[in-house]
């Protein structure tokens, strides 16, 4: 059974060797000259302003979490919408429960003031 996957393994090996090989060969053969301009993040762009390790408001973090909630909701609801007629009442009830629980979470966030920027 596993034998039929052998070509796949060979393909995997060749492509891995090729990818690694190209990087190694270009490292070995190319001349390397280090200059300040080359080492900057955007070689032909604007000079960077200050450090990237800045502190920023926790509000962004909250927004990111809120986004994930709705993101996951979309991931589950779109497939359900596609097969809505096939899965029938049971599917509808299951989706309704899911939305109900998310709504409780949303109400909690709203009352906690997580939806307000200030």
């Amino acid at each position: 059974m596993l034998r039929s996957y052998l070509p796949l393994l060979i393909l995997l090996g060749i492509s891995a060797a090729q990818a690694v090989g190209m990087v190694v060969v270009s490292q070995v053969l190319s001349p390397t000259k280090w200059t300040w301009v080359k080492a900057s993040p955007y070689e032909s762009g604007i000079d960077p302003l200050g450090s990237t390790r800045e502190r920023f408001s926790v509000k962004f973090y909250v927004v990111a979490i809120l986004f994930i909630v709705f993101d996951v909701e979309t991931v589950f609801l779109i497939p359900w919408a596609v097969v809505m007629r096939e899965v029938g009442v049971a599917g509808f009830v299951a989706a309704a429960m899911f939305i109900f629980i998310l709504t409780v979470g949303l109400i909690y966030e709203w009352r906690k003031g997580a939806l307000e920027w200030d």
């Binding site: 049971a90 299951a94 629980i101 409780v104 109400i107 909690y108 009352r111 906690k112 003031g113």
Partner: protein, 501 residues
């Protein structure tokens, strides 16, 4: 009423207690957030009492489960009396945790409605864990329980030890979840099903399959982590020590009860066909846990850490009951689990009581004179400690006796002998606390220290202590219930620990 799970609606009935408690936890969250909005202030006492009411209603729904039967033992969710018994233990553990957290949370400035809501969600996870007859449901239940607990352990986020415990528990816990999931994947890969009832008939052919055995081994590691069996226990002392004490009580009792119930369902019942394979591994783990945990507990200067190691040692004793893998073992397991829940939650409740200001006094020396200063709590604590050690006149003694009996019945003589020897070691560190409490005078400046366990907590501790004693004098009917509860898992022999059929 008989459920055959032909219609999806049957699951709504089979999962009624869990559904009720989930909705109730959301209600608790909503009541708190609508009352407080985004103001940072302590929750009203009504939130705690509402949570307790939710547990009572859930217990009623759980009792109602006894009136329905399942058509076959193939469903994803087990509807049997074993599950009902485990659910009751989990609900008792959650109720004790809530009762001792009243007042305690205010003292530490972490009285938030989310605490109770998360505690109830964790309880739902534990209940599902005891019901899972499908490995996917087992994993989901374990995660539901764990994710809520990770937050609860770190609930006092300004306390570095609480955060440290939470981080350790989270990192190692998610790692062990990975083991568990990988085990489930390998079992599914070789058996082509995650449903235990579908795997059981295939066991004779799978016995030789390395993939299946590795999968079962990884499952064992994942579950052993959750019940804190040595050498998968390293997170336990720090997480138990750092967590708010009611959470520690819940982790030491409810979590252990639920994960051990899953152990019984998956290994003692489901994988009974490969008993010879897993029993070797588990026997060594049980030996290591019993001796290792008791020896380390000897060296602990903090009573809370000592109780953490004591709970690890008790996981070893319970493993002996799992290893018996017969009806005696399962009934002894349920009986001991009940006693263990009462005495361990009770002991952690006393740890809360002995404190000054917001600081718990956990050191052994802090208990000097405690027995004379607080006659009621001192007596109650002594009962719990003696029961944990397994002294006669306490339920712990009877529980250990039943485990020994089941172990001998299964022919595991060396495990039974080890259990007795390990218990003898444990006498020292349990009795040391009692000795310090009564025989060492309290330092003079601490004579007027107040005890910070509120009325409901003191009442709960006293009732638990009376129950622990009662389980020694009249163990019969609890054992009778436990015996009938395991009837759906194993064929029960005619006489049972000397009791008639």
């Amino acid at each position: 009423m008989t459920l055959d799970f032909a219609s999806q609606a049957d699951y709504l009935l089979a999962l009624l207690p869990e559904i009720v408690l989930s909705l109730w936890a959301m209600l608790v969250l909503m009541v708190d957030v609508f009352q407080k909005g985004n103001r940072v202030e302590a929750s009203r006492p009504v939130v705690a009492w509402l949570s307790l009411a939710g547990l009572v209603v859930t217990a009623a729904a759980n009792g109602w489960l006894l009136t329905i039967e399942e058509a076959a033992v193939t469903g994803m969710v087990a509807v049997d009396s074993f599950r009902v018994f485990v659910n009751f233990i989990v609900l008792i553990a959650a109720a004790l945790a809530i009762l001792i957290s009243i007042g305690y949370l205010d003292r530490r400035g972490i009285n938030r409605g989310e605490f109770y809501a998360l505690l109830l969600f964790a309880t739902v996870g534990m209940m599902l864990l005891g019901a899972a007859r499908d490995l996917i449901l087992l994993f989901l239940a374990l995660e539901l329980m764990s994710v809520a607990l990770y937050v609860l352990v770190g609930f006092d986020r300004r306390d570095p030890r609480s955060s440290e415990g939470a981080l350790k528990y989270f990192l190692l816990g998610s790692f062990s979840s990975g083991f568990l999931l990988y085990g489930i994947a390998l079992v599914f890969g070789s058996a082509r099903s995650t449903n235990l009832s579908a795997i059981v008939p295939l066991l004779p052919s799978l016995q030789e399959s390395p993939m299946f055995l590795i999968g079962a081994g990884l499952l064992l590691v994942g579950l052993a982590f959750k019940v804190a069996v040595m050498p998968f226990h390293v997170w336990t002392p720090d997480a138990y020590d750092g967590a708010p004490t009611p959470v520690t009580a819940l982790m030491a009792t409810g979590v252990k009860a639920a994960a051990f119930a899953a152990f019984i369902r998956v290994f003692a019942v489901g994988f009974a066909g490969i008993y010879n394979e897993w029993s070797v591994v588990l026997s060594w783990l049980a030996l290591l846990t019993m001796f290792g945990a008791n020896l380390i507990a000897l060296t602990q200067g903090s009573v809370k850490r000592m109780l953490a190691y004591s709970s690890i040692a008790h996981a070893g004793y319970l493993l002996v009951a799992v290893l018996a893998a017969n009806a005696y073992g399962a009934a002894a397991f349920l009986f001991y689990l009940l006693v263990y829940t009462l005495m361990t939650a009770g002991a952690f409740g006393i740890v809360i009581a002995n404190s000054r200001g917001a600081n718990e006094l956990n050191k052994l020396d802090d208990y000097a004179g405690f027995g004379w200063r607080e006659p009621l709590l001192g007596a109650v604590f002594s009962i719990f400690l003696l029961s944990l050690a397994g002294f006669p006149l306490t339920g712990g003694f009877i529980g250990k006796l039943y485990i020994l009996r089941s172990s001998l019945e299964a022919g595991n003589v060396e495990l039974a002998v080890s259990l007795v020897l390990a218990s003898v070691i444990s006498y020292f560190y349990y009795l040391r606390v009692v000795v310090v409490m009564y025989m060492r005078p309290a330092p003079a400046e601490e004579a007027n220290r107040t005890v910070l366990l509120t009325g409901p907590g003191q009442l709960a501790m006293s009732v638990s202590a009376v129950a622990v004693l009662a389980l020694f004098f009249v163990p019969g009917w609890v054992l009778d219930v436990a015996q009938r509860s395991v009837a759906s898992l194993f064929t029960v022999p005619g006489t049972f620990f000397g009791l008639g059929p």
